[in-house]
């Protein structure tokens, strides 16, 4: 009876209860984290109840299909998960500092930590961040009112959130797998790890993978089909270009991961032999499939960051982007070549040197378009009137550190060298070196740029700059020493080491991890300070940075329908053009009714049913698995019989809002860039831009 109801779930799987049996540091950390997660969840519920925010939460956010809100929800999800990921990083570094012949954590716990940390940081921090940015920006930049498939967009968010939810559940109930974010079988196969860890991994990855694939599809179709009239491909903003390439990668790179995950599940649940040791199974197939996804994935993550840095340089150097076309070509070639290099993640698997050479060369080739980009940014900054705002601080950190990371990548592309440093801390240094200064700095710079667009007030500059510096210093301390210990031979993912020479380095990296933790707190502090001072930071008129692209041609925050009238585009950098011709804020001759999709429960239904599905499959609770699948299916089947009329926003409403905004603009004084950081900046810019073509 109990088994039928709860599958293989037992009381012992509740992690916080472990504290009753043992009070070692190890259980304190593990069970403590579980307890903290539970308390945080309860606190959120209590807070929402006390402030009577439940209806607001559902009506304004969880059922909304507005791409701007979905984008913000993605980013919030990313931050929540990042908090956990960083705490795990700090715990791991603390362990490593003491890991000379031991360490504070058990080997098992350590392995679980790097596995959850890697999985979370890639799939539930980095992915939601970039998806959030693309969501928020694509329609605004191409002059559209929403995505091509608004409901699918919400469903994608729900699927991503399901994956994150499964990871959070694994913190409290049962345990996660211990095979790293790559989860290679047969170590994660049923023979060596009957579960539930690898099952959590499989379902979190497969379910959220569908979400990512649908996001990519949605963005690609939106960019193909929904551009405002006149916006030819070569007039699109650079961020949109990178988003397009990322979307295409998402559509084509997710299938191998889904297949690898599902085959892994077939092996585990139905005793198939794809990756097992016996009866013809072949784990090398797994490595191959995984990295056929894994490599494009890193470009999925970095391309939008490149896009952000491109927008950043032109905006804060007040110059048109130098070499727009070469940047576009570089982006596209990176996207294609990124499908030709996956083998560099397993040079040591045993294939012939000629195969290794082929993939090594292909890998090195990617350095060319990447180099083009770096030069494009430099040339854009050159001779510009640079303002040293917070995003520029991140940019400087990115410029120097990312180049180092890129160089270490080129070193790794050489199979002969790769054999030496494979699986050492050198790799850990390399990928953090491109992920943190590349992707994460890009995201934070982007948040400083577009936060005022989304919420109507700027982030506090001084706080932002201090935080940015903390990130840079913290990064250098935490990860640069790893290049050295890697070369000295410290293997990655090892719970302990025997060479005392590593100790001083590992102490520095531990201190660095705490600096990074404080940098994260710095972000929260920046947000807090900015909210307190939001009146003097307010930029309701919408253009605080003398922006170039269409999203700045709307008030901040933009109305639900984005544009009162769909703009006609006649050149690149559309908004600059308007400003230079002195007619950025004009009233249209007439307003028309706007048709927008209405709210839907689809997201909630998907979130609840797929979380239940993933959880049930993990714990072998078959009735729940079937039930949730059937509910999911029936809901959508029934939904397809309903007519979705959407809602009409009457022209008069649009007119009132639009006219109020234009009037506010006309009543205020445009400010020059010298006053950008003063309360005088209400978002009406006196343009300082050298005009493009």
């Amino acid at each position: 009876m109990f088994d039928a109801l709860f599958g293989r779930l037992t009381w012992d799987d509740l992690k916080p209860l472990e504290l009753l049996h043992s009070q070692s540091i190890n259980t304190l950390v593990g069970a403590g984290a579980a307890l903290a997660a539970v308390i945080a969840a309860i606190a959120v519920v209590v807070l929402l109840t006390v402030t009577r925010r439940w209806t607001w939460l559902f009506k304004e956010w969880l059922t909304s299909v507005d791409h701007k809100k979905i984008g913000i929800m993605y980013i919030v999800l990313g931050f929540v998960m990042m908090a956990r990921g960083i705490f795990e990083g700090v715990a791991m570094r603390t362990h490593q500092a003491t890991a000379y012949q031991g360490g504070v954590l058990s080997a098992e716990h350590w392995a679980e930590l790097f596995s959850t940390h890697g999985t979370i940081m890639i799939f539930f921090v980095a992915m939601p961040f970039i998806t959030g940015f693309m969501n928020y920006l694509i329609p605004l930049q191409i002059g559209a009112r929403d995505m091509a498939f608004p409901v699918l967009n919400l469903i994608s968010l729900a699927l991503t959130a399901t994956g994150a939810a499964l990871l959070m559940i694994s913190l409290v109930i049962g345990k996660f797998e211990t095979g790293g974010w790559t989860a290679y079988p047969p170590f994660t196969g049923a023979d060596f790890d009957p579960g539930p860890g690898p099952d959590y991994w499989v379902w979190a990855i497969v379910i959220s993978g569908f979400g990512s694939m649908f996001s990519g599809l949605n963005f690609a179709v939106t960019i193909y089909k929904m551009r405002a009239p006149g916006m030819k491909y070569l007039r699109m903003p650079v961020f949109t270009w990178t988003a397009l390439c990322t979307s295409i990668l998402l559509v084509f790179a997710l299938p191998p991961l889904t297949i690898a995950g599902l085959m892994q599940a077939l092996d585990r649940y139905l005793d198939f032999h794809f990756f097992t040791n016996d009866l013809g199974g072949n784990m090398m197939n797994y490595a191959n499939l995984f990295w056929m996804f894994g490599h494009p994935e890193v470009y999925i993550l970095i391309l939008p960051a490149y896009g952000i840095f491109s927008e950043l340089t032109t905006t804060f150097a007040a110059k048109p982007l130098y070499g727009y076309t070469s940047l576009v070509i570089a982006t596209m070639s990176i996207a294609v070549v990124s499908f030709c290099v996956w083998l560099h993640h397993f040079f040591t698997m045993g294939q012939s040197p000629s195969i290794n050479a082929a993939f090594g060369i292909a890998t090195a080739v990617i350095a060319i378009p990447t180099g083009v980009k770096v030069y494009v940014w430099m040339a854009t900054l050159w001779g510009g009137r640079i303002r040293f705002t917070t995003p520029m601080v991140y940019m400087v950190g990115f410029f120097i550190l990312f180049t180092i990371g890129g160089f270490s990548g080129i070193i790794l592309a050489n199979p002969a060298i790769n054999w030496q440093v494979h699986n050492t801390q050198f790799i850990v240094a390399h990928f953090h070196n491109v992920l943190l200064p590349g992707l994460i700095f890009g995201i934070f710079a982007g948040i400083h740029i577009w936060f005022p667009k989304a919420f109507g007030f700027r982030l506090h500059e001084t706080a932002g700059k201090i935080t940015a510096c903390l990130w840079i210093v913290g990064f250098c301390m935490t990860f640069l020493p790893l290049y050295v210990v890697g070369l000295l031979g410290y293997p990655r993912r090892s719970a302990a080491y025997d060479d005392p020479a590593f100790i001083p380095y590992m102490i520095v990296t531990m201190l660095g991890a705490f600096v990074l933790l404080s940098a994260f707190v710095g972000l929260i502090a920046t947000l807090w300070i900015s909210i307190r001072k939001r009146d003097e930071l307010a930029v309701p008129l919408g253009d605080p940075w003398d922006g170039r692209t269409l999203e700045w041609a709307t008030p901040s925050p933009p109305p639900h329908w984005n544009f009162a009238v769909i703009p006609h585009i006649s050149s690149r950098d559309a908004f600059v053009r308007e400003k230079s011709e002195g007619k950025p804020y004009v009233l249209p001759e007439e307003y028309v009714d706007i048709h927008m999709p209405s709210n839907t429960w689809a997201g909630i239904v998907v979130l609840v049913t797929t979380t239940a599905l993933g959880f049930a499959l993990t714990w072998w609770i078959w009735w729940l698995a079937i039930l949730s699948f059937v509910v999911l299916f029936l809901w959508f089947a029934a939904d397809s019989f309903r007519e979705h009329r959407g809602e009409i926003i009457p022209a008069s409403t649009v007119r009132t809002a639009h006219q109020a905004w234009i009037e506010a603009v006309e009543l205020s004084e445009p400010i020059t860039r010298d006053d950008e950081d003063t309360p005088a900046n209400r978002g009406y810019a006196k343009t300082d831009i050298v005009i493009a073509s």
Binding site: A148, F149, M213, L217, N218, A220, V221, Y224, K225, M226, V251, F252, L254, P255, P256, T258, I259, M263, L266, L270, D271, F272, H273, F274, D278, L279, G280, G281, N282, N285, L289, M292, A637, S640, F641
Partner: protein, 206 residues
Amino acid sequence: MSEQGTNPHPGMNLGYDGGEKAAEVTIFGFWTFLMSDLVTFGLVFAVFGTMTGATAGGPGPEEVTDLRSIAIQTALLLGSSFAFSWASLSMKYHGGRLHMLGFLALAATSALGFLIFELIDLLHLVEIGAVPQRSGYLSALWALVCLHGLHVAGGLLWMGGMTLQILLFGLTDQIKSRVTRMGLYWHFLDIVWVGIFSMVYLAGVA
């Protein structure tokens, strides 16, 4: 031949104007989805290709292939595809829904026949011990064939739902757009089957 100057999307030329832009976007989106699905199938094919030798002493291609049954399945699926295109012609040129539903029913029956023959084949495999648990080769074979079979079964459910909707709402623009997407899906599955009977069965016994 057929000059479809006004057809902005792939798949059957439905020749309706209403909601053309919206239909164009959804159909292009669906086409993109199919491309992603194509990669999925292609990679399962590739995995199958790497596992053709991994029979681990168990049944091999000779034992699992019944060419007669495969030929029948091929004919049934092709027939279904053909019947579907007839249904879409009917939808395009004549308003009558029963006429169209007749062809749709034909397509569905034919596909059901395909599934039944496939199921019989699979049951036979179980009988001779060629279960996926036996070897890597069989795992890959079952995964590939069942992936396709499940797609077909899903398509049948979809057809059932569409039939209901056509009876309830008539051939509205919304429905026409859905039928167009279903057609893409249906023909796409037939293409995948061409790959399966050629590469899995024929090449297996050759």
